[in-house]
Amino acid sequence: MKSLLTAIKVGSIGKIAHFKDDLIAGKLMTMGILPGSMVKVIRKAPFKGGLYLKIDGYNIALREQEAANIVLSMSA
């Protein structure tokens, strides 16, 4: 099952399947966020802000618009 990173609930885990936008993909990949990386949504920022994520064990902050380009495949 595929799902956008922005669509999943806090606490859920997924594996990055692909990215929707090349420009964002290029940036994310330089930080080691790659297809195949495991992503867990830890929490959302105050003021309806971005996402606090755990990606391959690293804590990463992304904006909503950035996260909206990440397509996950959900295991369950």
Partner: protein, 697 residues
Amino acid sequence: MRIALAGNPNSGKTSLFNKLTGLRQKTGNFPGVTVEKKSGILHLPDKQHIELIDLPGAYSLYPSSEDERIVLNVLINPEDENYPDAVIYVADITNLEKHLLLLTQIKDLGFPTLLALNMSDLAEKKEVQVEERKLSDFLGLPILSISGKTGENLENLKKEVGKLTGIETVGQPFYKFNEIEKTVSSNVQSIFGIKNPYRAKLFAHHHEKLPFLTAREKEKAAEIVKKEGFNDLRLQITETMQRFEQFVPTLRSAVSQKNNQSSFTDSVDAFLTHRIFAPIIFFVIMFFVFQAIYAWAAYPMDWIEGGFAAIGDFTRNSLPSGWFTDLLTNGILAGLGGILVFVPQIAILFLLISILEEVGYMARAVFIFDKLMQQFGLNGRSVVALVSAGACAIPAIMSTRTIGNWRERLITIMVTPFISCSARIPVYAVLIGFVVPADTIGVFNLQGLAFMGLYLLGILAALFSAFIFKLILKTGEKSYLMMQLPSYQRPSWRNIWRNIIDKVAAFVLEAGKVIMVISIVLWFLASYGPSKAMAVAESSAISTAKAQSLDDTATADLIAARKIEASYAGHLGKSIEPAIKPLGFDWKIGIALITSFAAREVFVGTMATIYSIGSSENENTIRDKLAAARDPVTGAKVYSAATSLSLLIFYVFAMQCMSTLAVVKRETGSWKWALIQFVYMSGLAYLGSFITYKLMS
């Protein structure tokens, strides 16, 4: 010989740099941009002296920020004044998998490279094992485990650095070109005379934004790229993927590590980045920062002011009176005092901000306020500047260096001086009594409420003008949040100390020059006038004093009052009177507006001089004097509620601070932005005062 330190943000590069160069370092800017450049001298065991440059932290040679762009520009241009002969690449040993991308790119550029595996606090506890030999063979470069904090293995590092020179890199490039890349880079190589194929590819990819290429060269590069159908974005992604695929398997077999999740960080962040608690905790922390700047700085500021007053008295009394003594006392010493008095605030703010930065909290602050600040074209980090501006705009503006996006940083700088700083308090204190009675309604003190209102007005002005700037300023550089939230760690006092020294030195040396010049100009304007008028003023003051049989102090005060009226500043004050009349100001206020450009609090002192109570330092005396002032023609009160409120509004908005302008000039790299800021802030002040006065009278 020159060696560059490169690595990702949070790799501990700066700690290593500070440890290696100690006090033998200097801070400047990279040419044309305001990104800080640190360089220093490294002494090797074989008596070689090496120039070490600390490049900004970067993830790759495909830049997302101004910092990263500098790394690219320096490393692909052999003509660049900072182009290194070799590279020390610093990587955090606990984050190796994410930290090696840039290393493989630097290696492919052909630099002799040494990989320094930096031990963090966490690595020591978590038993990370690296088979250095295996990794070194695979990467084709020497590897050393070091600690930038404790200094472990640094002597060996220096030995290895000595051997780096002149070694051409060995082995295959990490990244294998596809057919298009091969054609493009060989074309670029032959046309631009570039030896290294990967450098040629980066030329092709980045040609539009490389500052060192001429328009003609950019055209040529564009032709090649277009002809071969070089899809730069797709190729960038392919390249990045391939590099990770190359080194990740070897890395996983060479590094054994218990899980790298820091449970301490996770549990702390559950509070510090909590949806509801996070902003509250942030404001509590900022409240303490604000209080500390305010309260702690007061003592050293008093000493500095007192010290300069004492030196001034000494020179005044011991040197023969004349223009030179006057220049020394009221121009130079006053200017120097005006510079140094800000040092405690700057030092304390950067002490606290550096601690928050080193610990890892600042990244959280950015995360918490990113969305809110985006609405106003600002950055999460802008909150820190805006809050600390409540003490003083100068350190606040200097703190914006941590904002990576140029546009967001510029907007922050432009709006920060709207926040009411501590120098506005004396002005508010003197004037507020003319507008609001000292009554209370319920538990609220009316004057206190008015004070708060002025502060709120400043905050609103800052946010409103940020919003306007957001609409006006366009940028090619997109803004991103995506960032790592590093694990919390103990701060390095050496780094903090370095940062404080850098910031204080930057202020005193760079902004100080400007402040000094303006201070001397203002001294000249207030002390000199057409010589005849000045002589007449003095003699008429003396005869008036005799007629009224005033004592010595009162006579001196009267002379000072008449002289400032006859001075160039007095003339200026009178000549701008028609312009400020609609705001309800007379020429006396005009003089104070001009002199208080040195610093807002000078307003009170100038008013005291004009009303010939210069020897009194007491705000209450000044307030009584102002309250009694009447218009000589109409007999109406000069400081009516309308005029006083208009003046208060003026001081909320106006850029009445030469030191801030000097700092803005330094931080933005040109007078342009300082001038724009001066004009729109003064414009808003004029408009605000005008409307206020019209409504009130």
